[in-house]
């Protein structure tokens, strides 16, 4: 890479490119010197690369801004071109709803205003455009308040520019800033507070799900900006290198920036109803997602020495590094730990990463990405970060009973994976007390599930060794995990063994599948009945495939027809799954894999799986084990994967059809042109070109036409498949919700009108006459910023878990209702009319309905 590129890329970093220089001023001068030399013959490259750096390293934007300011003194034309480019990109980003693009380019423009490159009025003009667009959106008459997420986004963009340029704006145009602040305040008074309880990390159990003192994201940022304003617009976390060059920069020409326009938002549904409104609101939320849901893990003392705005800026830095350096491990870790701020921020960094890992409904990247980042940061800061991570784990563990079920699952997967990268070392003795808790206590279940996942990633003895410092904890390890052949277990049923032996021999003797099937038809079924046949066939084949994942696949591929023969309908498939569960009862992973593969080969349907999950034996485990939930999650996610694969295929087929049609049209035109041409043959004018070419063109045109037809056919075939898949989806969610509704109706406390989890918990607590307060072990900050409950810090931990078994069962199950609804909201919304009519009726348990509603982020009162 040429040196100006390296200097641009590495500006502000501690790297060899800049030698001993650590001062931003020196860096900018060095870099400017190199750029100036190259500007004449590499203008385009410099422009492109400079912009790419600013876009992908947004924490360095102040440095790039100053640099552009200096270039502006030398070459106004270059800077003009740069601004034009920014303008195009900005408008494109706005049109396409590229939130990150809009946000980052606005920061760049703010900084360019500070460096006298951009006219102040141009920036204020953009603010005004955003403000008026936001105000219109939330206006009931003129706009469409369902799209408030978009309006909120515009306001957030304006506010988030102020840490970078607030001081300059106030100095130069104080009255404009005042006007801006008033307008934002006016907007805040019109908009609706976002009370998305469905996305909270923790279940509030104070009855009142959101206290009046709680702020949503926009209000929170607004408060931080107000604090910034009253603090004289001083921000420690934002470098202000342009100040060192102020004397030069004032001489530069400030350019104008053309106007921009916000895209129109969809109009409200023509027939407004709870459902159509909900669908559109959901669409808006998907398009303009909130960037971060703040997760307060640590006591405020760990982070509170920062100004409120610094926390916001740091989060922006960290999230941007995570966004742009996904896939570049080394750079990601080094930028994360080397941000240009004069304070330590390990706690804040941990909170930010955990807030992404646990983010609802989905983190921007797969959870395994954050696992990797945490591993790398532990290695990059071995003295500081591991302890912070451990602190976060302890704090989350204390609150695990209130943690959302989806977050809990992610935490289990992350923690087990994390430990597997650090020799499985963890002070388990701290948590040995969970053994004294009832087997449904969330902390105990958490430990048990972490150990289960550790065993899967490693092996039983290794994990047992790792818990040796915690007396008795091995009790929570899963069983050692072998297969469990239970033929004729109840008594000396040699018959089943004999049949199984025969089948084994058939398999060993390479008997063709049809032979096995006729053996079953003629010998086994008539004499032994279905139950025995099914058990013998399924267990024997599973046993043959029990040695590994690949063995299992091989058996399923070869003997799929045998399974299908014995289990042709849903009832039998449920029996088949039950047999799998029995055979692999001491190995949850193999149970889950076997069922998943059977669904993959369509030997069992997702409906059969749901029915099995809601069989009595599994229902009884809902609150004590992840086993049934894992199987259910797999089934729903496989269904979802199928449908989204189909959508992708259809999309690409559609494109292919279009381009084939284009090609066919062209071929036809060419042919027509050739045919209408007059050619001289033997001195006589004849219609049509020479016959060879004509023939070739003819066959080309015919081929192109055929291509269109065949693509069109496969497109239609896929469409038909999609229609079927959507029907299957509807059937799946109907059955899933019906099953949930039924089991909850049976088990929610009879006659109880409990409408909140809090009331549910206290039913048992009252009986037991225990202090209804949560155990006062929280070293953590409540999400709603309330002072912690009456605390006796340093007092003994109260380890008792005072929620009864039945109540815990309901709480866990409701938690999963919410988690499934939230994760598949986009798939569920299209079927909501049917669900409303058949499941979410007045008769359904109120707590069940509110769990579904909150997962779908659907206001309950609009039902």
């Amino acid at each position: 890479m040429s040196s100006w590129r390296n200097l641009l890329l590495r500006i502000g970093d501690k790297t060899p490119e800049y030698g001993a220089a650590t001062d931003f001023k020196d860096h900018i001068e060095t870099c400017f010197g190199a750029i100036r030399r190259e500007l004449d013959h590499s203008q385009t490259e410099i422009l492109e690369f400079l912009l790419a750096c600013a876009e992908q390293l947004p924490h360095k934007i102040p440095l790039y801004g100053t640099l552009i300011g200096l270039i502006n003194l030398e070459n106004e034309d270059f800077v003009k071109k740069l601004l034009d480019k920014i303008h195009t990109k900005f408008q494109d980003a706005l049109n396409s709803g590229d939130c990150n693009g809009v946000r980052i380019l606005m920061r760049l423009m703010t900084v360019l205003m500070c460096s006298k490159v951009l006219q102040l009025s141009s920036l204020v003009g953009i603010f005004d455009t955003f403000l008026s667009s936001a105000a219109t959106i939330v206006d009931e008459e003129k706009g469409n308040p369902l799209w408030q997420p978009c309006a909120d986004f515009y306001i957030t963009c304006i506010l988030s520019c102020l840490p970078w340029g607030g001081a300059e704006l106030v100095e130069q145009v104080p009255e404009e800033i005042d006007r801006l602040m008033v307008s934002v305040e006016a907007y805040l008074s019109i908009r609706r507070r976002d009370s998305d309880t469905g996305l909270f990390f923790f279940e509030k159990d104070d009855g009142n799900e959101r206290g009046s003192g709680d702020k949503d994201f926009v209000e929170d940022l607004w408060e931080r900006i107000q604090a910034l304003s009253s603090n004289g617009w001083k921000v420690e976390s934002v470098p202000r290198p342009h100040l060192s060059f102020e004397a030069q920069l004032v001489a530069g020409k400030s350019h104008e920036f053309g106007t921009v326009s916000c895209p129109n938002i969809p109009s409200p549904p023509s027939v407004p109803s709870g459902i159509s409104n909900g669908k559109q609101k959901h669409e808006a939320e998907l398009k303009y997602p909130q960037r971060i849901h703040r997760l307060n893990i640590f006591p405020p003392s760990k982070t509170e020495d920062l100004q409120p705005i610094d926390r916001y800026v740091m989060e922006e830095y960290l999230l941007d590094v995570l966004l742009f350096f996904n896939g570049c491990r080394k750079e990601c870790a080094s930028f994360m730990v080397g941000l240009p701020v004069p304070f330590r921020y390990e706690y804040l960094m941990a909170e930010t990463i955990f807030s992404q890992l646990l983010m609802l409904p989905q983190p921007p990247f797969k959870p395994i990405y954050y696992t990797l980042v945490i591993i790398d940061l532990c290695k990059a800061l071995p003295g500081a970060f591991p302890a912070v991570v451990a602190g976060a784990v302890r704090a989350l563990f204390e609150k695990i009973a209130d943690l959302d079920m989806e977050c809990r699952t992610r935490l289990i997967l992350w923690f087990s994976h994390h430990l597997s990268n650090f020799q499985f070392i963890w002070p388990w003795e701290e948590w040995a007390y969970v053994l004294d808790l009832p087997k449904w206590a969330p902390q105990r279940v958490f430990v048990q599930e972490v150990l289960e996942r550790e065993v899967r990633l490693s092996y039983w003895d290794k994990v047992k060794q790792s818990v040796e410092n915690a007396a008795g904890l091995e009790e929570l390890l899963p069983p050692k995990g072998g297969p469990n052949l239970t033929l004729g277990a109840d008594g000396a049923d040699n018959n089943e063994h004999a049949l199984s032996g025969e089948l084994n021999n058939l398999v060993k003797g390479k008997a063709p599948v049809r032979e096995i099937i006729s053996w079953i038809d003629e010998t086994v079924l008539p004499n032994n009945g279905l139950e025995v046949t099914l058990r013998v066939v399924v267990q024997t084949l599973l046993n043959i495939g029990s040695k590994s994942f690949t063995h299992l696949i091989t058996v399923l591929e070869r003997y799929g027809q045998v399974f299908a023969k014995v289990c042709p309908d849903q009832d039998k498939q449920v029996m088949l799954i039950a047999e799998v569960g029995l055979f692999w009862k001491s190995n949850t992973q193999m149970t889950a894999i076997a069922i998943d593969r059977m669904m993959g080969y369509r030997l069992v349907s997702n409906l059969a799986i749901v029915r099995w999950v809601f069989s009595l034996e599994n229902i009884e485990q809902f609150h004590t084990s992840d086993r049934p939930w894992e199987v259910l999650r797999n089934a729903v996610s496989k269904t979802y994967n199928r449908i989204s694969d189909l959508r992708k295929e259809i999309l690409s087929l559609k494109r292919n059809v279009l381009s084939a049609e284009e090609a066919a049209k062209q071929a036809k035109e060419e042919l027509d042109a050739a045919e209408s041409k007059l050619t001289l043959v033997d001195g006589e004018p004849v219609l049509g070109e020479n016959p060879a070419r004509l023939n070739r063109l003819k066959s080309q045109a015919a081929k192109a036409k055929e291509e269109v037809v065949s693509l069109q056919e496969s497109f239609e075939a896929k469409e038909a498949l999609l229609v079927r898949a959507i029907e299957e989806n509807e059937a799946l969610f109907l059955m899933l919700y019906k099953s949930f509704s039924n089991v909850l109706a049976e088990r929610l406390p009879e006659g109880s009108n409990a409408r909140t989890l809090h009331e549910l918990k206290s039913t048992e607590v009252d009986v037991m006459a225990v202090d209804p307060q949560e155990p006062s072990t929280m070293e953590v900050d409540n999400e709603n910023q309330k002072p912690p409950n009456s605390q006796s810090n340093g007092g003994k931990k109260s380890n008792a878990y005072n929620v009864g078994e039945k109540e815990q069962w309901c709480i866990t199950t409701l938690g999963y209702v919410k988690a499934f609804s939230r994760q598949y909201a986009a798939e569920i919304w299209p079927h909501i009319e049917k669900l409303d009519a058949e499941v979410l009726t007045e008769e359904a348990p109120p707590l069940f309905r509110s769990a579904v509603y909150s997962g779908l982020r659907r206001p309950i009162n609009e039902a």
Binding site: C53, R456, K510, Q561
Partner: protein, 258 residues
């Protein structure tokens, strides 16, 4: 996303010499492949461990364990096949360099599994990198194969009391899990730290398992396992094998570029 530091078009510096095509085709295969190659694994790592780890990047279609072509036991690499390209990319991005079974594993895009690629390409049946290693690596069968042979020769010289070659355990894979996964040349070190491992999960692979549609004609798993035995006898004449075997093991190349 991060185009500043990484050329997204450049996926692998490694070029498999057994790829049947030119560089361009090779690159295209890597760009579109949904297969990853996993290297530097322990011989003891099971498919289920691989499944647990790699399914965190996405739904897995298949796992193919790399096997020692003589002993038919895992020899420290595997292929993982995904359904989607995005998941494949994520596996490379997020799993490469992390720990599986106490070892940092390597995950790379692969041009696509074909039958035959599951076998080690080293002279002794395993991977080439395990031929020449001089370190003692308990997760990969102890010393490298050459060193092992050297040690054996030395021991034979000392051990003349016992007399014959017959005193050496034949190279039969049933010791997998207890002993070094490689050739089991009497070096039991490898397995000793792995007691209690469910070693019955030995993997054998029959060549035809990639043609599921002809299932009825296929031999059973059990059958092919019996058939596999003749292959796993100790090599008769080491010198004879030399000419037929090539060195172009992927492992070695991969190492070179690291």
């Amino acid at each position: 996303m991060a185009s500043l530091f990484k050329d997204p078009a450049k996926l692998s510096a490694y070029r498999d010499r057994r790829f049947p095509g030119n560089q361009e085709e090779f690159e295209h295969a890597l760009q579109t492949s949904t297969t990853v190659y996993v290297g530097n694994m322990s011989f003891y790592t099971t498919e289920e461990q691989v499944y647990e780890l790699f399914s965190r990047a996405g739904e897995i279609k298949k796992i193919i364990m790399g096997l020692d072509k003589n002993s038919k036991t895992p020899c420290g690499f595997c292929f993982v096949l995904y359904y989607s390209r995005e998941d494949t990319e994520d596996a490379c991005k997020y799993i490469s360099g992390t720990i599986l079974d106490d070892r940092p594993i390597r995950v790379d895009f692969d041009w696509g599994f074909q039958d035959g690629r599951q076998w080690g390409r080293g002279r002794s049946g395993g991977q080439v990198r395990d031929e020449y290693r001089t370190d003692y690596d308990p997760g990969r069968g102890g010393y490298g194969k050459l060193v092992q042979k050297e040690l054996e020769v030395q021991r034979q010289l000392v051990d003349y009391g016992a007399g014959s070659l017959g005193s050496f355990p034949p190279v039969i894979p049933h010791s997998y899990g207890r002993h070094g996964g490689g050739h089991g040349h009497g070096h039991g070190h490898g397995g000793s730290h792995r007691h209690g491992r469910d070693y019955h999960r030995k993997r054998y692979r029959d060549d035809d398992r990639h043609h599921p549609h002809e299932s009825s004609k296929r031999t059973s798993d059990h059958e092919s396992r019996r058939n596999a035995d003749p292959d796993s006898r100790p090599e008769k004449n080491p010198r004879f094998r030399e000419s037929g075997d090539s060195d172009d093991d992927e492992e070695d190349d991969r190492k070179r570029r690291a």
